[in-house]
Subunit: 237 residues, 2 copies
């Protein structure tokens, strides 16, 4: 079997993860001894990568949630992306061995690392991999500019709605969603750091959404009651 997409790691667009991991999770998880691939796990809250760190490996989230962020000197931080199973930490780590961001585990996570040299080797021989890398790079740029647009132009409600819509579509791509219930293992503090608001104000916005019957978030589960209203609020265009 050499299918191009890994079932447990469906990186939504690029299929890059599939190309790295192979077609079947059983092939790869219990047998990591290929020299150019290694695995490790982390506990919730644990820091996995730090800015300015140099690594010969390229990392992909296999199970659990993590997030990539940029930390300022005074403690403020901007969460740049929530990393779901199948997500590469950042596509630019394929080209640049120095991290320009930090990564922390949100839940228990399992991480897979690939030797950069191996990836480059695959790029040289396989045009499909080259294309997948390019696609992944495009997506990362797009996501970053969309985030910038949301942070620059959107109100608090719009930013939170936008973030939730994005997370909803990414969760839906990886698992079946029933009755508008999405599993989101985040604290309001994480949402605050992702949309540039204080946790207190995030709480107030959620209260407003709840009162208006749009959605409710508790216990790591997001329940969407009025999806079209949420989209009206949080869509970019």
């Amino acid at each position: 079997m050499n299918a191009s997409l890994c079932v447990t790691c469906p990186n939504r667009q690029s299929g890059l993860c599939g190309k790295l991991l192979g077609s079947s999770p059983e092939e790869v998880a219990p047998a990591p001894k290929q020299g150019w691939q290694r695995f490790f796990a982390a506990r919730p809250g644990q820091q996995i990568a730090a800015r300015n760190q140099i690594s010969g490996d390229i990392f992909v989230v296999c199970t659990g949630w993590a997030f990539r962020y940029f930390q300022l000197a005074d403690g403020r931080r901007q969460i740049l992306q929530f990393l779901l199973p199948g997500d590469i930490f950042s596509t630019i780590t394929i080209f640049d061995e120095t991290f320009h961001f930090s990564v922390k585990a949100l839940t228990e996570v399992q991480i897979s690392g690939f030797a950069r040299s191996k990836i480059h080797e695959m790029c040289a021989t396989d045009s499909g991999v080259r294309w997948a890398v390019a696609k992944s790079c495009i997506d990362e740029c797009q996501d970053a500019t969309e985030l910038a647009t949301a942070l620059g132009q959107f109100s608090a409600e719009e930013r939170i709605a936008h973030l939730l819509l994005q997370l909803m579509s990414r969760v839906a791509a990886r698992s079946v969603v029933r009755d508008g219930r999405y599993s989101l293992p985040l604290r309001q503090q994480h949402i605050a750091d992702a949309v540039g608001l204080t946790p207190v104000h995030v709480s107030r916005v959620f209260s407003a959404f709840r009162d208006r019957g749009v959605l409710a978030l508790s216990d790591g589960v997001l329940q969407v009651f009025n999806a079209s209203e949420l989209e009206r609020i949080g869509s970019v265009a």
Copy 2:
């Protein structure tokens, strides 16, 4: 002569423009008849590219200033990047023929367009071009995440200082700067759309900077009196 960097188009990091244009401006400007390359000009304020537009060409600013932005349905817009001589509209246009942004001229500009197929051909044969493309992609992602961080975490003063510092370094890379005077052909409206504030508030922030002896902006010229104070305010880390 086959130097890798074009003097009049010094794309600060990648040298991508140099690889596209050749070493000498005289070689290229009056003789655009190679089939895969074309030129055009635009007047200040003129729209050069629109979102969802499909183009077989990749565009580079040769002279003048332009800006890339994302327009929302209700009229709000986020300026994503100011384009200076040597800047490619967006590196991802090399891979994706659909624009996900719009571009407008700020001053009179001359634009050069390259056939995407020609670029791909160059990528296939020249590893230097491949690397330059990768580098340019990295820079674009970095810029976008830095913008997102600034918009998410910074106050009004910090955002404006940050933008000015970035523009100052990019102007300085292209021309000699004397006495802290930078030529910036922008209206306060553009700054407002770039940092997510209203023009009125931008004006107030500039008044504050002026009163404190940090800088003054008028007539398209930025005069910096206290560079270290400006850096203290607007540096990301």
